[in-house]
């Protein structure tokens, strides 16, 4: 599986690692829903640490899409919320 650490790049991760990330992702979601920013930041940092430590960085010119994206912990809650809304992160589709 390929994971993108947003702003940092893409990593190849093993299924084992992905299972761990998945558990943390549930925690992150719970923290985000509860507006618990310190907990969310902590969980995201843990996820980043795992991916950077055990994942394998993809080459810059690799064009494979990621299976999952993990936001950085220094986003504010508000930014994270904007990110998960329909617009925000994604640039507007250019007019043809």
């Amino acid at each position: 599986m390929i994971v993108r650490l947003m702003g940092e790049g893409q990593f190849q991760v093993s299924d084992d690692l992905l299972a761990q990330l998945n558990e943390l992702d549930d925690k992150a979601q719970a923290a985000a829903d509860a507006n618990d920013e310190p907990e969310l930041d902590r969980v995201l940092d843990e996820m980043w640490g795992l991916v950077q430590g055990d994942g394998e960085r993809l080459a810059d010119d690799d064009l494979h899409p990621s299976d999952v994206l993990i936001p950085p912990s220094d986003l504010s809650l508000e930014e994270t919320q904007r990110l998960f809304s329909d617009q925000g992160l994604i640039p507007d589709i250019p007019a043809a």
Binding site: M6, G9, A32, D60, P65, S66, E79, F84, I93, P94
Partner: protein
């Protein structure tokens, strides 16, 4: 995977598939997508330049403020030896504000530097991907049937679209931060410009108002006492010498 991770990636994918639905002919899609990538890359370069400019501006301001500090010190000293404790206090208050601003600026410049480095790494990665896309698109056009090509295009375009979105977000964040800093920088500019302390009599009310919010009392008291001590010591020394 129902959490944050899957939500973000599906948002990106939705955007890409909308983009790809625009064109039916794979080679048109490829060329269109490549054009968009080049455009995006230009925007990224501009974004990086903006951040660098903002950082330079903050650095200039730091220098200006640093020059202001000894001047304010001198003015406080001069005011006190002329027996105008009120003026000395005002100058020291201003100095305290300037010091606080300097500290904030330093932190912000450091933060901006880190961001600038990240942006440059992002830009490099995006360039590498755009270049890789450019060579792949000719291969896809030449070697694959329309149906096969569509699959390959979708994958390549999603990969690069994701990088574009990610880099776009990084730029956006840097620009938001820069805007905040520029607002702050404008406030500092004002402080420095109004720092011409010659006109004490008319300036004092506005000065009081500006500084009222900031609790500088104790530091000012300390510094004032220190200055008084120095002046007294200097005076005593002179008396002894005579």
């Amino acid at each position: 995977m129902a959490g944050l991770m899957s939500r973000t990636s599906s948002v990106v994918k939705a955007w890409i598939s909308k983009l790809l639905d625009r064109a039916e002919d794979p080679s048109v899609t490829l060329d269109y997508s490549y054009e968009k990538q080049l455009e995006m890359l230009q925007n990224v370069k501009r974004g990086v330049a903006d951040v660098v400019t903002a950082k330079k501006r903050l650095e200039l301001q730091t220098q200006k403020l640093e020059q202001e500090l000894p001047k304010l010190d001198q003015q406080a000293r001069a005011a006190l030896s002329a027996g105008r404790e009120d003026l000395a206090r005002a100058a020291l208050e201003r100095k305290t504000v300037a010091q606080a601003q300097l500290q904030g600026l330093d932190q912000q410049i450091t933060g901006l530097e880190a961001q600038q480095e990240k942006l440059l790494a992002n830009e490099k990665r995006l360039s590498a991907k755009v270049e890789s896309f450019r060579s792949q698109k000719e291969v896809i056009k030449a070697q694959y049937s329309a149906a096969e090509a569509q699959v390959r295009i979708t994958e390549a375009a999603t990969g690069i679209g994701e990088e574009m979105a990610d880099t776009g977000l990084a730029i956006q964040r840097a620009q938001d931060k820069t805007e905040q800093m520029q607002a702050r920088a404008a406030a500092v500019d004002e402080l420095v410009e109004s720092g011409a302390l010659e006109d004490w009599t008319s300036g004092e009310t506005s000065l009081d108002r500006e500084l009222a919010q900031i609790s500088t009392q104790s530091q000012v008291d300390d510094e004032l006492a220190k200055l008084k001590g120095e002046l007294a010591a200097g005076g005593a020394k002179k008396e002894l010498e005579q």
